[in-house]
């Protein structure tokens, strides 16, 4: 089985912790890029077991699953438990596109009181509680890399990026974390 083959995480062994912030690579998860028109949202929400959000900068979570709004017809759906998301979508008899991107993306968890300051080293968004509360999510930039940012909790941020961008993203977050603690 595939279990005997070594799965190589692009950020193997990376991590940082200081007084202000902790950075760690997130565990592998399954992910799809889900594209669908408005008329398919209800059926897909039912099939996935999570209500696909319809407003910018919002997410919806249920259990291990989270759907992040990326555009009027686009969501990033993550299953931290590794569930079969494309298989779940197939139950919905509507028009959509689900493409497996479990390995295209990887994620970094940024947590602690200095997390927002760390992210703001390279992310131009307003990450204040009023504008980007827990549960908010957005596709944005971190320095020169595109990321999807999801505020999973008050002080827990989930940074998704493409696999080959992850060493850059991690290193920039390390630089931001050092400054957040300075």
């Amino acid at each position: 089985m595939a279990d005997t083959m070594k799965r190589a995480h692009p950020l193997e062994g990376r991590g940082l912790g200081n007084a202000a912030v902790t950075l760690k690579p997130a565990a592998p998860a399954s992910r799809i890029s889900l594209r669908a028109g408005t008329d398919a949202v209800a059926a897909l929400s039912k099939a996935l077991g999570v209500d696909l959000p319809s407003r910018p900068k919002t997410t919806a979570s249920k259990g291990a699953r989270t759907a992040i709004w990326l555009g009027p017809d686009e969501w990033l759906v993550i299953d931290a438990g590794g569930g079969d998301l494309a298989g779940a979508c197939a139950k919905a008899k509507v028009l959509y596109s689900a493409v497996d991107i479990s390995h295209r993306n990887t994620a970094i968890e940024v947590s602690g009181p200095g997390a927002a300051a760390t992210l703001n080293a390279g992310c131009p968004l307003d990450l204040s509680d009023a504008v980007f509360p827990a549960g908010a999510g957005a596709r944005t930039l971190l320095g020169k890399a595109e990321i999807v940012l999801w505020r999973a909790g008050a002080d827990i941020w989930h940074v998704e990026c493409w696999r080959s961008f992850s060493p850059y993203v991690f290193a920039l977050l390390e630089a931001g974390a050092r400054d957040a603690a300075a």
Partner: protein, 998 residues
């Protein structure tokens, strides 16, 4: 006493807290809280630098960031040398090492001062007039001269060991400047519930309260109130107070850049601290409280060390407890200098006289000065000064002439009034207006959501400025959406009020005079230079500025602007507003490259992308090449092999046995939806409607103009799902191109595009033994030629259950496979293939071998063999253009007359006649090597390699009418001789194409 000019009991510094420093090698002592300038003055040192052009001795003019003269270099260690640091801004720390600039061999005796004697020669427009001809003198004489003379200070020659940080921030209200008006505006906005950022370039808040001893706010001394208010603000959750932070760039939509100096004032900065931090602030509203800058008087030799701004002398006294001299002259056109004179007098410093150009000055400060017995010479001017390295006397005479009297002095403080600092307002694209009553430019028409308050808005009275700031802070908070109900209540108990001021040259420096009366100290521009510029035809202030360099460089018009403008207006006999105002450019004060670059250096300069198999390649000795942001394995040299030997071996091995190649960087796009086939049929020149599930097709993509944009292999995974591959470099633009057409031209199509470039690691196994090597690893696919022929694709598993997309395809001309597996499994699957293939003689090969092998087969590389002017027909790909298609992107473009005309450059093969010489890529091709230079060029080499498999050099070239020239001899003229080449077809190896189906 080591600080002879420090006055006991004056100033706000603690005498017990001393700090040692050196200047030009001499040791001095100052106090903590000093600037380098105040510490030097405490030791009686005025001479701090040499001017840029004339090398005139210069002293400390100001006490702020407008300082044009006292530019020094600060050296922390061998790698930390900062040139052009303003001594008035640099805070003193124990052990500071500073040096003067632009002098040799010493500050007091500088050989460059000869320029001063030759100054008629170096006058305005000198560069434009002198370095004209002869042309030959440019490289030998003029350019070396200019390069040697250009620049001030010595740039560091080693990498900067410090690090710099960056922070994006958002707020309801950004307040620029933490003087009285700024503090009040911030407090007002914060109490109304707004999130506030307030910044100030100084180490402490307070602004002009630093020197205005007459101000009392909230029942306290003005300075004490400012410190209390700053502390109150800093303690509020919704306020961030940034001192030592300069707002230097005001961009569109209230995006303001701030530079925070974090460690420059510390004796031993912690290693984790950034030296500086760039703040990129996006504010809903901005309040500009930038204050005003005092102007100097323009008179003969007004640049002598010891001559400085009156407000600066007052700051040195009231804040730093330093007297700038023992017997001080005052030359003014404004009341504010009286305040300085009074404070100095009260501190026991002799005031030789106040020389006032006004005939009848009046006002409370004037009265007070007279009451204190200070001599006031109204209606007089200073026409000359004595002393070269330090002012020693002034010649005073009544306006319009009369007998001059000589007064001995050791410092001369001047004021021509105050210029509201409209820099940030002007940067925001706001339009200034001329206020005739007060003769100054003030904020006029706003372009952004900001408000100016206090001195920068022309609000002179402190009580008025405070009320204005309270209102502006509350309004900004409200407009930003703050819902708080709090309000700021601040009482102003006492303030100073000033009138007066003048623009342009003073007594004795007017039209016709030849004296050096400086307007712009930093650029050595005198009143005479401005007049000369106008006389020589520069009638626009923008031309005057460039001709004279007035207000250029770091000054940006802080001190020089209005004087220059007034003199030009006088000569032109036009009102000042008609002469115009030059643009105030960013940055407000110089910003280090480190701050602008901040984290973006070294590994963070740009993204370096590596494939999942990268580390294996590195461990196995690969050399890498950069392809876009990717690192790709270039070739795998073995012991003793150079690149040529390694590539030859790899090329032979692939054709003899097999090779394994990391193709993970290929762009991949998943095209999904019921209209996917119809969409691809429009995007590619090839037909796609009938491509069967499980089949692959090579596709060519054009732009609307008919030129090749990209190519790649497209696989049909299901009726409504395609796996599209693109070139490595083309991945992002192809996705954009497709998305663009989908959204604008074909919005009716039900298709979605998703980049999967990084989802899949791609392991190419190519060569006669490829099938045998991979067969044991592939599950559920019959690999024989009938079941899985060339150009097929299957979804399957490999290596015990790893999901895969297996492509049977070739970019080498050999039978080959590309195994796509989820990226995290890339290396494991690669190693499994390696374990089976290596014992059979398979090698790993890199991009160079890939290039050679594909060239042997005449496969093009878009961007190398094409250049944006090549059609599929030019590239010999007519077969890939669907003849029966009714539409595709580029179809109309391909029908343009020029694209179907004779004489187009077409892709062909070239072989060198000598069978040895490898052509240079990019080399030009001619039909007649004896033609006169410049020869008519008919094409160029696009790809060229040594091919061991073909036993000689091979090349591809774009040649005019190339396809009609088969067999012709053409010529490639090179510096060391002409190379004869034969035009051939593009396929050099296995021209029947049998091996691919092997």
């Amino acid at each position: 006493m080591t600080q002879p000019f420090r006055i006991s009991g004056a100033g706000r510094l603690s005498p017990a807290r001393t700090a040692r420093f050196t200047f030009d090698g001499a040791s001095y002592q100052g106090l903590e809280g000093d600037t380098l300038a105040s510490a030097l003055l405490a030791n009686g040192v005025h001479l701090t630098g040499r001017s840029y052009k004339y090398h005139r001795p210069r002293g400390i003019l100001s006490a702020g960031s407008e300082e044009p003269n006292a530019l020094v270099s600060i050296e922390r260690d061998a790698t930390r040398r900062a040139p052009n640091v303003r001594a008035t801004v640099q805070e003193l720390y124990d052990g500071l090492v500073a040096g003067s600039q632009n002098r040799w061999p010493s500050l007091k005796w500088d050989i460059g001062e000869v320029n001063n004697l030759g100054s008629p020669f170096f006058s305005a427009g000198f560069y434009y007039k002198t370095f004209m001809w002869p042309k030959a003198a440019w490289t030998k004489l003029y350019e070396p001269f200019i390069r040697n003379a250009a620049g001030l200070g010595v740039a560091p020659d080693q990498p900067d060991p410090d690090h710099y940080a960056s922070r994006h921030a958002h707020c309801d209200v950004l307040v620029i400047g933490a003087g009285a008006a700024g503090l009040v505006a911030a407090l007002s906005a914060a109490k109304a519930g707004a999130s506030v950022v307030i910044c100030d370039e100084q180490a402490e808040a307070g602004g002009a309260l630093r020197h205005e001893s007459g101000a009392r706010i909230g029942g306290r001394d003005g300075w004490a109130w400012a410190q209390d208010t700053a502390a109150e603000l800093a303690a509020m959750d919704n306020v961030r107070v940034l001192t030592r932070t300069t707002a230097f760039g005001y961009h569109a939509q209230n995006f303001v850049a701030l530079a925070e100096r974090v460690t420059d004032h510390l004796a031993a900065p912690g290693h984790t601290m950034p030296r500086e931090r760039l703040w990129q602030v996006r504010a809903r509203r901005v309040v500009i409280a930038a204050g005003a800058i005092e102007r100097h008087m323009v008179f003969a030799d007004n640049d002598r060390p010891g001559i400085m701004l009156a407000s600066a002398a007052r700051i040195y006294l009231n804040h730093y407890g330093v007297a700038v001299g023992r017997k001080i002259g005052v030359y003014t056109a404004s009341d504010s200098a009286y305040g300085a004179a009074i404070d100095l007098h009260k501190a026991g410093v002799a005031i030789a006289a106040i020389v006032d150009t006004r005939d009848d000055p009046s006002g409370p400060l004037v009265e007070e000065a007279k009451a204190l017995g200070i001599k006031v010479l109204a209606g007089h001017g200073v026409t000359r000064v004595g002393g070269r390295l330090r002012v020693s006397s002034m010649s005073v005479r009544p306006n319009g002439g009369g007998t001059p009297r000589h007064v001995a002095i050791d410092a001369l403080i001047t004021s021509a009034g105050w210029t509201p600092s409209v820099h940030m307002f002007s940067q925001s694209r706001g339009k200034v207006r001329w206020d005739e009553a007060t003769k100054r430019f003030l904020p006029g028409t706003y372009a952004q959501d900001c408000a100016c308050v206090g001195a920068c808005n022309g609000t002179d009275d402190l009580a008025d400025a405070v009320s204005e700031a309270i209102a502006a802070g509350a309004k900004a908070a409200k407009e930003a959406g703050a819902k708080g109900r709090g309000a700021a209540k601040i009482s102003v108990d006492a303030s100073e009020s000033w009138t007066g001021g003048m623009l342009g040259s003073a007594e004795g420096a007017g039209p016709g005079s030849t004296v050096k009366a400086f307007i712009d100290f930093q650029n050595d521009v005198t009143a005479k230079d401005i007049r000369q510029a106008v006389h020589e035809g520069m009638h626009s202030i923008e031309h005057v500025k460039r001709f004279t360099t007035n207000g250029m460089a770091t000054d940006q018009g802080k001190l020089s602007n209005l004087h220059g403008l007034a003199i030009a207006a006088e000569v032109l006999d036009r009102p000042i507003p008609q002469v115009g105002l030059t643009t105030f450019r960013q940055p407000f004060t110089p910003v280090t490259f480190g701050t602008i670059v901040n984290h973006g250096r070294g590994g963070l300069f740009d993204v370096t992308r590596r494939t999942p198999i990268h580390d294996w390649a590195a461990e196995n000795g690969a050399e890498f090449e950069d392809v876009g942001n990717w690192k790709r394995a270039w070739y795998f040299p073995r012991a003793g092999e150079d690149m040529h030997a390694a590539v030859n071996r790899e090329c032979r091995t692939v054709r003899d046995v097999a090779g394994i190649f990391d193709a993970s960087t290929l762009g991949k796009i998943e095209v999904v939806g019921p209209d996917a086939a119809a969409f691809l049929n429009l995007i590619y020149t090839n037909p796609f409607l009938k491509l069967g599930v499980g089949r692959l097709r090579y596709g060519v993509m054009c732009r609307e103009d008919g030129f090749i944009y990209d190519d790649g292999v497209v696989g049909r995974i299901a009726e409504d799902r395609f796996h599209v591959t693109t070139t490595t470099g083309g991945a992002p633009r192809v996705l954009n191109h497709m998305e663009d057409y989908l959204q604008t031209e074909f919005p009716h199509m039900k298709v979605w595009l998703t980049s999967t470039s990084e989802q899949w690691a791609v392991i190419a196994v190519q060569g006669p033994k490829a099938r045998e090597i991979i067969a044991p690893l592939v599950e559920g696919v019959d690999l024989d030629n009938e079941s899985f022929p060339h150009m097929s694709v299957r979804e399957c598993t490999v290596c015990g259950g790893i999901p895969a997309r297996l492509f049977r395809m070739s970019f080498t001309g050999e039978a080959g496979y590309e195994i796509n597996v989820p990226a995290d499994y890339g290396r494991a699957v690669w190693e499994a293939v390696w374990a089976l293939g290596e014992p059979m003689g398979m090698c790993a090969y890199g991009t160079e071998t890939m290039h050679v092998l594909r060239a042997e087969k005449g496969y093009i590389i878009v961007g190398q063999d094409t250049d944006g002017t090549v059609t599929p027909h030019d590239a010999g790909l007519s077969w890939a253009v669907g003849k029966n298609k009714t539409d595709f992107v580029g179809m109309r473009g391909l029908m343009r007359p020029d694209l179907v005309a004779e004489g187009r450059k077409q892709l062909v093969g070239l072989k060198t006649r000598d069978g040895r010489t490898v052509l240079e890529e990019g080399a030009q091709i001619v039909a007649d090597p004896k033609a006169r230079v410049p020869m008519p060029m008919i094409g160029h080499v696009t790809s060229s390699y040594w091919s061991d498999n073909c036993g000689g050099p091979i090349a591809l070239a774009l040649v005019k009418d190339g396809q009609k020239r088969m067999g012709e001899t053409l010529y490639v003229p090179m510096p060391d001789g002409v190379i004869e080449v034969e035009v051939t077809g593009m396929v050099f190896f296995d021209d029947k194409g049998e091996r691919i189906n092997g």
